[in-house]
Amino acid sequence: MIIRDVEVRNVQEVARGIFVLSFVSLELSGSTLPGQFINVLVQKGHEPLLRRPFSVYRVEEETVEIIFNVVGKGTVLLAAKKRGDIINILGPLGIPFGTGGSFRNAILIAGGLGIAPMPILAEHLRKNGKHIEVFAGARSGDQLALDHLENTHIATDDGSRGYHGTVVALAEQYLREHPLSEAKIFACGPIRMLAAVSAYAESVTIPCELSLEGEMACGIGICQGCPVERLDGATRYALVCTEGPTFDSTTIILRGA
């Protein structure tokens, strides 16, 4: 885990309102695993006060990339960064996805910016010899960011591209028609979508890992600000930042879904 000022290499709009920002960090590029995140201080000073957490999207040699949606002041500022600007990063953080188990087929399901951890995840899964199918959903076709992914199946809420409906419905339909044995699901996206994925995985008894998002103050386990309810266990809550953000779907309760 490191804290460093890094130089922005590039910021690019890859889909409507969706940006990829890259920077150079040998320390991070060498150590980050799929599903881990970094906590970004978008500028010095008190506004905004807190860091912003982003999944690592891709690692390419010494370069690290994040992908984000412009939703508020932090991401507005990030999107406006230029080559050479300095941001401060803290990472890699959190528990990575389990990419090395005994499964053979990896099913990646992403809703909206849930696409973020998928390229780095796919890369590692490929290295581990897994077959991959990617299901990616968005509100509309212009909000899809599908670079660096293969075997993609697309769903949009407005039907402007691919399947007209939710990405989970698409995945369910596809997998009914093309059953995959010894499979494992990896999902990231809005809470409702994760709940649907989780219910589906349980119904077909496929192991499933979810990557969660939630308000975070520190990202490193010192504020107790990011609880998620456990299904059972010694304590009622787990911390998303240090015990997640990836969780086995059978171990947590998704509230607000």
């Binding site: 006060l49 807190l50 490193i220 504020c223 107790q224």
Partner: protein, 313 residues
């Protein structure tokens, strides 16, 4: 250059600690922070039994600040002794254990148990806790009760006893006087300020408990005024807390009368903040040719006939 200070025979190597609830139990950041450069670590508040804390969301950002409603989530004093204290004992800094409770008796039980352990240098008492007997009103807004907790705990320990005062009262100086008379060695000023944030679109409060505790740079002016008020009221040492992010902030607290400071929210942005604050204070004092950082304490020039026009030219 003298940087340290002494509180009831315990020596602190410098005047910068990290605040309760903002540095975990000290082990989470072991790769990042050289805690030997801190005056001390104040642990997360501990209660007798483990506490789950409040449901999410527990955190909301506000202008130059943040709200929290952690709900005193903690592993409980027994797990602390078993799992956290052994590591803390290995650290070359002072360990202050912060205690939270929902009854006077619970405060006493927790402190008595900790008193039997090695490696703890002092206690800080979080009185901003709901008192079950009074329907959840915080102990810390009741002066008599705050004094009672202090004197009960004083009888149980000969280590430094620090009472952490809440700013959410009309006259904080009266509370400082009461706890001093009840035997406190020092006061910590301030805990978080009651605040609230709302999502206009969903019409919901941004944290699950509706109101929460405001911290960070936004409250620094409030904290400075409270420390100043307490410094005018009592002569025991004050730990100044509230919105400190750099050495200059910390020096402001020393000038208004704090003997030491604690860094809170800033740890979430960078857990090394306490170390850089300590280093920055030292070099400031050196630049001013002071022999002792303590020479800054309480030296505010509070003349009322100040310059009409600050010069930028």
């Amino acid at each position: 250059m003298k940087t340290g200070f002494v509180l009831r025979n315990v020596e602190f190597k410098n005047r910068v600690l990290v605040a309760s609830g903002t540095f975990g139990y000290g082990d989470e950041t072991r790769d990042l922070v050289d805690v030997a450069k801190l005056g001390g670590i104040v642990t997360k508040s501990l209660s007798w039994k483990p506490r789950d804390g409040n449901p999410p969301p527990r955190i909301a950002e506000t202008p130059s600040g943040m709200l929290n409603s952690i709900g005193l989530a903690n592993i409980g004093v027994h797990a602390f002794i078993e799992k956290k204290l052994p590591y803390l004992r290995t650290l070359d800094t002072r360990i202050i254990v912060n205690i939270a409770a929902s009854s006077v008796q619970e405060y006493c039980d927790v402190l008595a148990l900790l008193e039997s352990q090695n490696g703890i240098h002092g206690f800080e008492i979080n009185v901003s806790c709901p008192n079950v007997k009074e329907g959840g009103l915080s102990f810390g807004t009741n002066c008599d009760l705050t004094a009672e907790i202090t004197s009960r705990l004083r009888a149980l320990t000969d280590k430094p006893l620090i009472i952490k005062l809440t700013p959410n009262v009309t006259h904080i100086g009266q509370f400082a006087v009461a706890v001093k008379e009840a035997g406190a060695d020092a006061v910590s000023v301030i805990n978080t300020v009651i605040g609230m944030a709302v999502n206009a679109k969903t019409r919901k409060p941004k944290i699950s408990t509706v109101t929460g505790g405001l911290s960070g740079p936004a409250i620094k002016p409030i904290a400075l005024a409270k420390v100043y008020e307490v410094a005018q009221s009592v002569d025991i040492p004050i730990f100044g807390i509230g919105g400190i992010t750099n050495a200059e902030d910390a020096i402001e607290f020393l000038l208004v009368g704090a003997s030491a400071v604690q860094v809170g929210t800033a740890n979430f942005i960078d857990p090394r903040t306490g170390v850089s604050v300590a280093e920055g204070i030292e070099s400031f004092a050196r630049d001013q040719a002071l022999g002792d950082v303590g020479d800054l304490v309480g030296t505010l020039k509070a003349k009322k006939d100040m310059s009409v026009l600050q010069s930028w030219l």
